[in-house]
């Protein structure tokens, strides 16, 4: 359990060691360690290979901005690539491995890329792999992707569970550093509903990583006290391990809570929760992010951000080196030296690019002013640095501080443009912030402790008053402002060796210059050309460097060059969390008709019809092809009796003394004179005169109707009717409500349907042809008093009924019908047979009512009554819709009965070429008709009704089908309708 680099006095639980594996070797850390801190404690500095050149890389930072230390965590289906070791908490049994190397991490074959770097500059791929074009997808891209990239997916289904949720608050505080804690405390004491979120698993921000005193106690103790008080409030929710990743409209924020990433995989109920937070106000207290400086070979393992070196020493008790040197352009680098010195670490040198400073160094630390680091040595771990003076210093850790950039990202998510603040050499929030957002602390450019606390208190109080609460008596804690003098120094021009700007994307200073040289000078072009600022870190440590260098080569100031637009997410969000529980069969809700359970028992094959799951056919033993089942089912309806669940059709209850008038205006055909106890087929037009929907409407009483719609249009027709009722005709006394879900409805069709129904309908109700004729409807009772509605309507063309009962009896009714119909060999039929039957009968469905066809096209022009007005009536009479020679719906059968018709085929005259100019129409629906023992179809063709008997070609170029077909009546079966009236 040796952890050679472990120091004392840190915020880890040294009583609880944790064993984990990295690259198949077991190491030990402590509870409270990240993978990065634990590896560093064990002396492991070399943790990965770079993206493009496969350069050895080590831990660079101590937070979510990490560009280098990307690892694959966990194994098998649970494995996750590209996890930043700096934010991954270790737990007992954690398995991690390095990525992006061919061979071992130590001996990566692809490190040869580094030798080829002179030709692998930015834009190399665009220029080189252009010919032949066909090689790109098959050869070039796979090879390049293999050689360059990050981690690999397991290709297995993610076994983790993710969820989503919704939170509401008066105030969302993002970041729990000094200003965030102060703001949250102020608001919480005043009674606001406060959410305090921090991406870290330990709240306190930089107060955990630096040494300060607040109110006469250590900053860590102060954090503890504040958090304890906040936890005691019912109106406060503390959300650690939660990244507020996006600022959206109206005070809505996206946040990702990593609920169980820190425990053994699979042991938590849910891995991550994607929260949508609705806030009245928000305070961004996200702090600032340290940036690097560009100098020769500045990417070696052991070269780290100075703030990170400080955090590893103070928070995690880890010495990142035995001989630490510091290269800085600002005062914080010197403060790091003092903290390391306090922790007993050996600081050998401070190199400051500035000519002078007020800072002093601890005893025995060599200091160099107006000096730079120009080169480093140590391929797999830093060994020495070379200064601009030529001096070589032996060191195994170089802490670099190029200044601090306020974390303004969330302020830009609605296109706020940050503004340059010269005294910190960084951008602060500017322009219009997201509604309700304010920014405090280092994120706002307040880089010192007392200023942070002061801003947090002031902003907290301001929001308390804005929201109408009484101010709490919270006073400003005593703290001091450390010095923060900085300089605008970015790039050591004296460096001869490659100077890295963006470690994650292997972008060097040379690449930035090349981008400029090639004309990609706008920051947005620079980003796309070089990939600067892309991938998991989004350039948090590198963007400023790139901008500064571009400004330098352009001869502009940094604010003149500007920044790229920050967009959500602030840091990576797993796709699983975005999906939540909406995956696989639960991707969207499924609607099941009342007979579903019974149909499942029969082994039915189901089809999705919108959200509905409908039985498509019911295979029987020995049937090996769907056509066998469908032919049998359709034939059974023609010859005896079949039953089909039609509960999915929309059912709309219409009541009121103006109900008939309302229907008259909705439907193209008349309904005012429909007799009580009768049903009528109706067609509805859109405002533009095109057909919208069709269905039957039954008159149950003088002022009571029941409309059915197609399954597909159930919702849209109801919405249309509500619009008409509320907006077009508010004077009509009518009320509508959907009863689609209330009733289970079955079509019972076939010559034996009446006899079957007589077995279950209570004897006081006669359904003889005289008592209950075609298109009749009425209330009946069945099975000893259960209320039901009966409609004598037929979609199949056979003697048929539809019977409806309250949905609670739906499952039972299908079983009763099957039992009662046993002697008739009753056959359940699905949507396929339903389709065959309706095509044989020439009935239109969605294929024909596709939104581009009129009543005229469907041969129902005469149904559009000219004696009354209705929606779409006037526009349906447009000249172009009424002209002779327009398409009309007719039937088609192949001249050769063995040919199979194709839906979607286009009709071409026999003697003409199959080009668009000769296209005369298209086939909408086809089926094999067991009655005709032939393929049949419905379709639209020009002047169809005048061309009965004519032969045309049905050409389908997709399936290379070219069949001669005869135009015929669409009514293939019982054209006179004798069966359904019988």
């Amino acid at each position: 359990m040796t952890q050679g680099n472990r120091l004392s006095g840190a915020l880890i639980d040294s009583e609880n060691p944790v064993a984990f594996r990295f690259n198949n070797k077991t190491y030990y850390g402590y509870e409270g360690d990240t993978l990065a801190s634990a590896l560093l404690a064990n002396g492991v500095k070399f943790v990965g290979r770079s993206f493009k050149y496969h350069r050895p890389r080590g831990v660079f930072s101590a937070g979510s901005e990490e560009p280098n230390a990307l690892v694959t965590l966990r194994e098998g289906a649970y494995s996750e690539p590209n996890v930043r070791a700096t934010v991954a908490e270790i737990y007992e049994g954690l398995v991690a491995k390095s990525q992006n190397h061919m061979g071992s991490l130590e001996n990566d074959f692809l490190a040869v890329n580094d030798l080829l770097s002179p030709i692998l500059s930015a834009g190399f791929y665009y220029k080189t792999f252009m010919w032949p074009a066909a090689f790109w997808e098959k050869l070039y891209e796979p090879v390049i992707r293999r050689a360059a990239g990050l981690g690999e997916l397991s290709q297995l289904e993610d076994p983790d569970v993710y969820d989503k949720g919704f939170l509401h608050c008066d105030l969302l505080v993002t970041g729990s550093g000094p200003s965030g804690l102060m703001a949250a405390l102020t608001a919480a004491r005043a009674g606001l509903r406060v959410i305090l979120a921090d991406e870290d698993f330990l709240m306190g921000g930089r107060l955990n990583s630096e040494r300060h005193d607040i109110d006469g106690k250590s900053s860590v103790a102060w954090v503890d006290e504040v958090l304890t008080e906040l936890e005691s409030f019912e109106n406060v929710r503390l959300m650690k391990r939660t990244t507020v990743y996006g600022a959206y409209d109206h005070g809505v924020y996206g946040a990702l809570e990593r609920v169980s990433d820190h425990v053994k995989e699979g042991s938590g109920d849910v891995r991550q929760i994607l929260w949508r937070i609705y806030s009245k106000r928000s305070i961004l207290a996200a702090g600032s992010i340290e940036r690097s400086m560009a100098f020769g070979n500045n990417d070696r393992p052991g070269i780290m951000m100075a703030g990170a070196v400080r955090a590893y020493a103070n928070r995690w008790g880890v010495a990142t080196g035995q001989r630490v040197s510091i290269f800085t352009n600002n005062d914080s680098g010197w403060q790091v030296a003092w903290d390391l010195h306090h922790q007993g670490m050996n600081v050998v040198a401070i190199i400051d690019s500035r000519e002078n400073t007020t800072m002093s160094a601890p005893e025995n630390v060599e200091t160099f002013l107006n000096t730079k680091v120009v080169d480093t040595k140590g391929r797999k771990g830093l060994k020495s640095i070379t200064l601009s003076t030529g001096k070589v210093i032996s060191t195994d850790c170089l802490a670099v501080s190029g200044g601090w950039s306020p974390a303004v990202h969330l302020t830009c998510h609605q296109r706020g443009r940050p503004e340059w603040k010269a005294d910190i050499a960084g951008f602060i929030p500017g322009g219009e912030l997201p509604v309700g957002m304010s920014v405090v602390g280092a994120a706002n450019g307040a880089m010192t402790l007392e200023a942070c606390l002061k801003e947090g208190l002031a902003q907290g109080n301001e929001i308390v008053e804005e929201l109408g609460f009484s101010l709490s008596k919270t006073s400003l804690p005593k703290a001091t402002d450390e010095t923060f003098a900085t300089s605008s120094y970015w790039y050591v021009k004296e460096s001869v060796k490659r100077a890295w700007i963006d470690l994650q994307n292997d972008i060097t200073a040379k690449d930035i210059k090349l981008s400029h040289q090639e004309g990609f000078r706008s920051v947005e072009h620079l980003k796309r050309y070089t990939t600067l600022g892309m991938a998991t870190d989004q350039g948090k440590t590198s963007n400023m460097l790139g901008l500064a260098l571009m400004a330098d080569v352009e001869g502009k100031t940094i604010p003149e060059v500007g920044t790229t637009i920050f967009r959500p997410p602030y840091s990576p969000v797993s796709i699983g969390a975005l999906a939540g529980r909406s995956k696989a069969k639960d991707f969207r809700p499924t609607r099941r008709p009342p007979s579903h359970a019974w149909a499942e028992e029969q082994g039915a094959v189901f089809v999705e019809s919108g959200a509905w799951l409908r039985a498509q056919w019911y295979p029987k033993d020995g049937e090996t092809h769907w056509r066998q089942s469908v032919d049998r089912e359709a034939a059974a309806v023609r010859n005896s009796v079949g039953v089909c669940d039609v509960s999915t059709l929309g059912k709309i209850d219409i009541q009121g003394k103006d109900a008939a008038e309302y229907l008259n205006r909705l439907y193209a055909n008349g309904f005012a004179k429909l007799a009580i106890g009768k049903t009528r087929y109706g067609i509805m037009l859109r405002e533009d005169g095109m057909l919208m929907d069709d269905g039957t409407t039954a008159r149950l009483a003088e002022h009571h109707f029941l409309m059915t719609t197609t399954t597909a249009n159930a919702v849209s027709v109801f919405r249309h009717m509500e619009f008409c009722k509320q907006c077009l005709w508010p004077d009509l006394e009518v009320q509508i409500i959907s009863t689609t879900e209330q009733y289970a409805q079955y079509a019972v069709a076939g010559p034996n349907s009446r006899t079957l129904l007589e077995k279950i309908i209570d004897p006081e109700f006669s359904i003889s042809n005289e008592a209950f004729p075609f298109m009749g409807c009425g209330n009946v009772t069945i099975c000893g008093g259960i209320k039901a509605r009966l409609f004598r309507i037929s979609f199949s063309g056979e003697l048929a009924y539809e019977i409806a009962v309250p949905a609670r009896y739906g499952d039972s009714l299908i079983r009763v019908l099957m039992a009662a119909g046993e002697s008739f060999d009753i056959t359940p039929y699905g949507t396929e047979a339903l389709n065959v039957l309706r095509i044989e009968k020439g009935h239109a469905t969605g294929n024909e009512l596709n939104g581009q066809t009129t009543a005229e096209n469907l041969g129902m022009g005469k149904m559009v009554s000219r004696k009354k007005d209705c929606i779409g009536n006037i526009l349906s009479q447009r000249e172009n819709l009424m002209k002779d020679g327009d398409v009309s719906l007719v039937g088609f059968k192949p001249l050769n009965a063995a040919d199979t018709l194709k839906a979607g085929a286009h009709f071409i005259p026999v003697d003409l070429n199959n080009v668009a100019a000769n296209d005369q129409g298209w086939m909408t629906s086809v089926a094999y008709s067991p009655s005709l023992e032939s393929s049949i179809g419905l379709g639209f063709i020009r002047s169809g009704h005048q061309r009965i008997g004519e032969t045309v070609r049905a050409v389908d170029l997709l399936t290379k089908s070219d069949i001669l077909v005869e135009i015929c009546s669409p009514h293939f079966v019982d054209p006179e309708g004798e069966r359904l009236r019988g």
């Binding site: 969207r588 499924t590 004897p763 949905a807 009662a820």
Partner: protein, 179 residues
């Protein structure tokens, strides 16, 4: 004489599960009707219900008498829920007010789940986009919303008791929300 019998089944077969902190139970008894008021009949309906001691509730509110409660479900429309002891309540309204109101049976159109226990709000915050803080969504508040792509009516019936209603046909998806 018909020799067949129909048996009723609830959408989730009487689902009941959970523990002391959170319990979920299907409400499969009682009746649900929609009550729509025709033009110029509001006063008659209000006065009639007042005699039954049932106030017509404002949008977002639940009003209740013994064995019956009501809430607004649309423009000039309410849902009336009665317990199994009170089946004729709506029939009587229909008889007494005749053409002034429109009534439809909605009992079988909905699946209803009663959620209870001290952890109920914690469970609902993972599903419900509405703010259910007691100061915002008080007892006897109701709202229509969406949860996991389903239309849902949520009623707060007591401190830690909420009833959720959704379409019967998607009952299994509704149940999945709580898995």
């Amino acid at each position: 004489m018909v020799n067949y019998t129909l048996t009723a089944s609830s959408p989730l077969n009487g689902l009941s599960r959970g523990n002391e902190s959170f319990h979920i139970e299907e409400v499969s008894k009682g009746f649900l009707y929609s009550l729509a008021c025709h033009q110029n009949s509001m006063a008659d309906l209000t006065s009639y219900l007042k005699k039954q001691k049932l106030a017509l509730p404002e949008v977002g509110q639940l009003s209740a008498i013994e064995g019956c409660n009501a809430f607004s479900s649309g423009r000039d429309q309410w849902f009336i829920r009665t317990d199994e002891e009170n089946p004729a309540f709506l029939e009587k309204i229909r008889e007494d007010l005749k053409e002034k109101v429109g009534i439809t049976d909605q009992t079988d159109a909905w699946v209803q789940l009663r959620l209870s226990g001290p952890a109920v709000r914690e469970k609902l915050e993972r599903l419900c986009p509405l703010d259910l803080h007691p100061d915002v969504f008080a007892i006897d508040n109701i709202a229509r919303t969406t949860m996991e792509h389903l239309n849902v009516i949520i009623l707060r019936e007591n401190k830690n008791i909420y009833t959720l209603m959704s379409a019967r046909s998607s009952a299994k998806s509704f149940k999945h929300m709580f898995s």
